[in-house]
């Protein structure tokens, strides 16, 4: 504890510290000399390609992957082409960019995933230099070709190659260059001697950094900060220029007095940094350059690599792994020598308290007097988060907890979540895991990503522990990890299908929201169809099973699963697939066993393929539907003969279906059509397509009474209907004489009230009156009322002593003009009611 500040170095207002992360457990014979090395940010893995320039097949380069603590994760001889650059993607995949522009992708355990090309132009002129960069859109690759042109892909998961414009005056490799992300666009910053250019998709712009020392004749090196906000340039005059990456603002310029080109340069700043600084590395020297004249120098004893992080720089060499960062504010406040900050006092108070000394009270009092106890607790909690040593963390947290005792209303969440976070962080920092995450990085990368990273390393038990400990919702946490585990498990070739299916189901049984179909897909992709089918059985979402089953050519199973899901769209999908896969006979047979699919397919055919519909009915001997089919078809037929022929088909089918009624009705229709046709030809009356009723009406209205009679007899139209029909047709025509003759022809089967009413409807009261006398007694009142004869209506109603009829008549009488009638009716009403 006393030595917390031992590794601190002052630089201007701030302090820098170099914390040892790991003693590297790797055994490197030749150190880091002569190899390509790349380490992923956020404490990610390290990849090494030893002897990368060797080309002879007898001594191939060796690709090795290590965790941040140097634990080997993969190693294999490199058999592909000459590698120019290694790099890690945001999702822990290794990119190897070859001289010919091919990029090979491996997972972090050395498994080959895929490859892609950076385009013809690159492969022709070869890769000269390349940089791998990260942006909000994913991981990108930038290439400088032998033709001195830049080609860029911003996201390797969705490759869109962009060839940037030419840099004017560039004759050899530029002295240095970097990729920037600005205004949602990736750009390249190139230095050619002392000239700087920004290249974007369309243009090449010359730029000058404000206030760059004029002594410089060449820019030797440049680096962009983790956030792409800042830029540092190192010139051949030994000056370091720092400013914003949009080149609008200068922060500082410092003379290093070293003129040799450095090996590497990286920004070393943290969010809420007190000052900006850059770390520059030469062969045996590491320099921290800030905003003041002074610099911090660290000697180096062996070849090292700098890994920029969002809150510092990691330094990796043959034996050690260190983190260089600006000391975080809270730590500085607490540990700075002779600090009187509330956190420092609280820490002191707690120390005294543990010694059982009354000084504890004095310190506490001092903080409380200034009303800073809450601040003190916060400082201690925050500082604990930035410390690496569990002991130091504990001391700080204990002090915080001690201080909390004297505070009412201090929200506990801050303390609790820091304890939780640190427990997780300490677990993943353990060298067996080897993820030296700082608390700031952890918060930035989120727990989801941390779990992904653990899963990529196949550290399933730890991932599950972390999820449970942090109470992550099951489907985002434990279930997700288990799914990944299962996907890995199904690829293990040595175990039998049964055993794997069983183990997987056992482990996953209680987890909710597991997608078995995803696991099954993995199994299928690794050639284990049987296992995939077994696993699919566990999938509760039948909809999810279908696409995979189809892919595996298990179409009958896919069909029944689709039906089970109730999702008709899915059923359609399978049916359409089957339709293309099978020959027609087999297809129909399969449908026959699946009525749901069959009726859906019928629906489809009804709208899309009428002919197939007929075949389907034929197959099922569904004569009724066949009959209906021909009926529908007949209506589409413009020619009468064809129409009748189709109807004849209907008749046959209806007989087969034992639907005698339909058959007879259809035969009648055929007869009617022929009759209509004949009459059309003879008389020029358009009739075809009319109903029997309308045909007769039409005939009557043009006076073809004989023909009408003929139809009436031929088609056995009921008397009632014929009388109605004739009555209406004649009235419509205004043929009152015919109507009268007709009424007298024989006794009307519909009575005579209709005659009255129809005449009235055609505003012919006189005609109507002719029939009133013939109306039956029951309808007399109505008839009288219809012709407006209130007097007679009254007589009739009273005679019949029918209360409701009396009321009806009353309702038609006016109280002023029909006084006498009203009186009589009322009297009659009273007696009728009595009865």
């Amino acid at each position: 504890m006393a030595f917390v500040t031992a590794n601190w170095n002052p630089l201007g207002e701030a302090f820098y510290r170099k914390v040892e992360l790991y003693d590297m457990s790797w055994k490197l014979k030749e150190g880091l000399r002569e190899c390509l090395i790349t380490a992923a940010p956020y404490g990610g893995p390290i990849a090494l390609l030893k002897g990368y320039q060797r080309r002879s097949p007898s001594t191939r380069p060796q690709l090795e992957i290590y965790s941040s603590s140097g634990v080997p994760m993969a190693s294999f001889p490199w058999k592909s082409g000459l590698v120019k650059q290694l790099g890690w993607t945001v999702s822990d995949d290794l990119l190897c960019v070859q001289e010919d522009g091919t990029v090979l992708v491996y997972d972090l355990l050395g498994g080959y995933k895929k490859h892609f090309s950076m385009g013809n132009e690159v492969s022709q002129s070869q890769v000269m230099e390349t940089k791998i960069f990260h942006s909000p859109y994913g991981t990108g690759v930038a290439i400088l070709t032998g033709a001195l042109r830049f080609t860029l892909a911003t996201n390797i998961d969705d490759i869109k190659l962009k060839r940037l414009p030419e840099v004017p005056g560039l004759e050899g490799a530029p002295t240095c260059w970097a990729v920037l992300t600005q205004d949602r666009q990736s750009k390249v910053l190139v230095a050619n001697g002392s000239h700087l250019f920004i290249l974007d998709n369309t243009s090449c712009t010359s730029v000058t950094p404000p206030g760059l020392s004029p002594q410089a004749s060449s820019i030797l090196h440049m680096c962009v900060s983790f956030s792409y906000k800042y830029l540092a340039l190192l010139t051949d005059s030994g000056h370091v220029w720092m400013g914003t990456s949009n080149l609008k603002e200068k922060i500082s310029e410092v003379d290093t007095n070293i003129r040799t080109p450095p090996k590497q340069m990286a920004w070393c700043r943290r969010p809420k940094s007190q000052q900006s600084s850059v770390v520059i590395m030469w062969d045996r020297l590491l320099l921290v350059v800030g905003e003041c004249k002074e610099m911090i120098q660290y000697p180096l004893d062996s070849d090292s690599v700098l890994v920029p992080e969002m809150d510092g720089v990691r330094i990796i060499n043959e034996t050690h792994h260190e983190l260089l960062q600006e000391v975080p504010g809270a730590c500085e406040e607490i540990f700075k020598i002779a600090s009187m900050a509330p956190g420092a006092l609280l820490l002191e108070a707690h120390k005294e308290y543990e010694k059982e000394s009354q000084k504890a009270d004095e310190y506490l009092r001092e903080i409380k007097e200034q009303n800073l106890l809450a601040e003190a607790v916060k400082q201690c909690v925050e500082a604990a988060g930035h410390e690496y040593e569990p002991e130091t963390q504990k001391t700080l947290l204990r002090a915080a907890s001690f201080g909390k005792c004297f505070l009412s209303n201090f929200p506990p969440e801050l303390f609790i979540s820091m304890c939780r976070d640190l427990r997780v962080l300490n677990a993943v920092r353990d060298y067996t895991v080897g993820m030296p995450l700082t608390h700031t990085q952890f918060k930035q990368m989120t727990i989801q990503v941390l779990i992904d990273r653990l899963v990529h390393r196949k550290l399933y038990p730890l991932a599950i522990e972390v999820c449970r400990f942090l109470k992550t919702p099951e489907y985002q946490g434990v279930s997700r990890v288990l799914k990944h585990w299962a996907c890995y498990k199904v690829q293990q070739k040595e175990e039998s299908d049964e055993v794997i299916a069983k183990t997987v189901n056992m482990r996953l049984a209680d987890a909710s929201g597991i997608s078995y179909s995803e696991i099954a897909t993995k199994a299928y992709e690794s050639g284990r169809t049987e296992l995939a089918i077994k696993l699919l059985e566990y999938e509760p979402r039948s909809g999810e099973q279908v696409p995979l089953l189809l892919k595996m050519k298990k179409s009958p199973l896919a069909l029944s699963k689709a039906i089970e899901s109730g999702d008709t769209d899915l059923v359609y999908t399978v049916v359409m697939y089957l339709k293309n896969e099978l020959n027609r006979g087999d297809f129909f047979m399969m449908l026959r066993n699946q009525p749901v699919a069959l009726s859906l397919y019928r629906q489809f055919c009804k709208h899309q393929e009428l002919n197939t519909l007929m075949d389907l009915f034929n197959q099922d001997d569904d004569h009724q539907e066949l009959g209906n089919y021909y009926v529908k078809a007949s209506y589409k037929e413009p020619r009468l003969e064809a129409r009748v022929a189709l109807l004849q088909n209907s008749v046959d089918e209806f007989y087969k279906a034992k639907n005698e009624f339909a058959a007879k009705a259809t035969e009648e229709e055929m007869r009617l059509l022929r009759f209509q046709r004949k009459l059309e030809e003879e008389k020029g009356e358009p009739l075809v397509g009319f109903s029997l009723h309308d045909t007769i009406t039409a005939l009557l209205s043009v006076g073809l009474h004989k023909r009408a009679e003929q139809l009436y007899k031929d088609f056995r139209v009921s008397d009632k209907r014929f009388w109605w029909l004739k009555l209406k047709a004649l009235a419509e025509k205004g043929d009152w004489d015919w109507l009268e003759k007709f009424a007298k022809s024989k006794k009307s089967p519909i009575g005579y009230l209709p005659f009255v009413e129809v005449c009235i409807k055609h505003q012919n009261k006189n005609e109507a009156r002719k029939y009133v006398s013939r109306v039956t007694p029951e309808q007399k009142v109505k008839a009288h009322l219809a012709v407006g004869d209130l007097q007679s209506a009254t007589e009739a109603a009273i005679e019949r002593r029918n209360e409701s009829e009396i009321i009806t008549v009353l309702s038609r009488c006016s109280a002023t003009t029909d006084v006498i009638l009203v009186e009589r009716l009322n009297r009659a009403k009273a007696t009728a009611a009595k009865k």
Binding site: D569, Q624, A662, R721
Partner: protein, 600 residues
Amino acid sequence: MASHLSYGRVNLNILREAARKDLREFLDKCSGSKAIVWDEYLTGPFGLIAQYSLLKEHEVEKMFTLKGGHIPSAAVKNIVFFVRPRLELMDIIAENIASEDKLQPPRDFHILFVPRRSLLCEQRLKEKGVLNSFTNIDEYILDLIPYDSDLLSMESENSFRECYLENDQTSLYHTAKGLMTLQALYGTIPQIFGKGECARHVANMMLRMKREFAGTLIPTLPVFDTLLLLDRNVDLLTPLATQLTYEGLIDEVYGITNGYVKLPPEKFAQKKQEEGGKDLPTEPKKLQLNSAEELYAEIRDKNFNAVGAALSKKAKIISAAFEERHNAKTVGEIKQFVSQLPHMQAARSSLANHTSIAELVKDITTSDVFFENLTVEQEFMTGVDTDKVCTYIEDCIAQKDPLIKILRLVCMQSVCNNGLKQKLLDYYKREIIQTYGYEHILTLNNMEKVGLLKPQSTMRNNYPTIRKTLKLWMEDTNEQNPNDISYVYSGYAPLSVRLTQLLARPGWRSIEEVLKMLPGPHFEERQQLPAGLHKKRQPGENRTTLVFFLGGVTYAEIAALRFLSQMEDSGTEYIIATTKLINGTSWIKSLMDHPEAPLF
């Protein structure tokens, strides 16, 4: 705007807001100005979710109707298709895109499937080579649309036809999905009852989906205690009968679509006096009907014979309220009066509207035709002469009355007689074909397929038993102050609602025999609730039941259920959901087949 949705027993506005949120999110996904190309069928249902103003806020500048050819030019960045997943529509869209003017600046295309995206349709778009033209292909899950404070509808017109005639259960899948959405918002429904094949199918899918979504649902305290799923074909009779409630009659006479009714304008003309009597409005008057209108909420479910009295009572109250101004003496009193004025004026115009509508409806209900028709219906429902030729039907056919009217009556006779003797059935069919045309042989066949018409089998006519056991006919119905649901049909108590009523008390066990006579299985399922979510009912607190009518529900049935909710001792309140609001006419129409006319 939609505040009336919040006032019911269950706040259905939550559902509407959720739907609106999804819509906004989708619209924002297509950044920049846009034009919507509508599948015409969807505009009505969407109107219940969002007005044009919402679309406008999200940069929708133009709206077109989906049709062949090219999309009218509009200076917008995005073209968004709102369509049902139907192959015919995909063909039109493909045509639209293919004929896009190459010389104009290119526009981004998006497609929004309602209510669900479809692999089949995407495949079709792919075959047509336009699938890659779309920047976004998304789905807008619009299953259950809040229609009123106690009413949800899927507005799926052909649901009954598809399920019972064509054996296409797509709409049932949407139903099950819709019920899952509802449960996600309002909690798992612990009890599910059902009657009918489709009900069984929906319940099965729900239980299966529950397993599928295990773990992803956020547990919520259940709002509904019970779900009752009812197949429309369990009760084919009710929709055939003429509804006699105010709302029911408006629907029977004028037809209510998506909550709106179009009325003949003459009666509403008085306001335009100053323009002179010459130019009467010719455009039909369009009115929105829902419980947001206080007066309408009060009278909609009354028997029409009780509406007149209610209206005149209301008229007195309103004029009394206006008289109040003479009593307002102090400034404070006047101020208070003035503050109530807008409300009173709204009430007055609402009263005027409904008085006009009631007059229009009354002209119909007092006609002989209406009376005779009703008499026959009631004879059938009470079982009078259902096995003989009905002379009224004969006369109607002879006079070539509208076919749908005839079909409603014949079907009703068949249903009330558990089928007609073959000879009688054939007689009716022949009369219909000879009068209305041979093509209706297809429609008649459809009626037989769904069971609306059937030849009497050897089985006894069980309708009288059902009628007596379920008390479907009540002799002394009180239309003014009803004490039983039978008031909605002036004597006939809708079978579906009786089943609902008996389920609540004393339970279906008491009517096992009758349930067996009705088609399809009846069942009960329980859904496990997560621990701690069991509702503790306060003494006297009512249960909430969601009644889902698969294949449609009539306004009169809804009125009957509302009546049950309001009964003091019922103990249950009902929320109603359905695939579509129907009446006998729209229902029969949906089952008719119209073969395309010959081309000459």
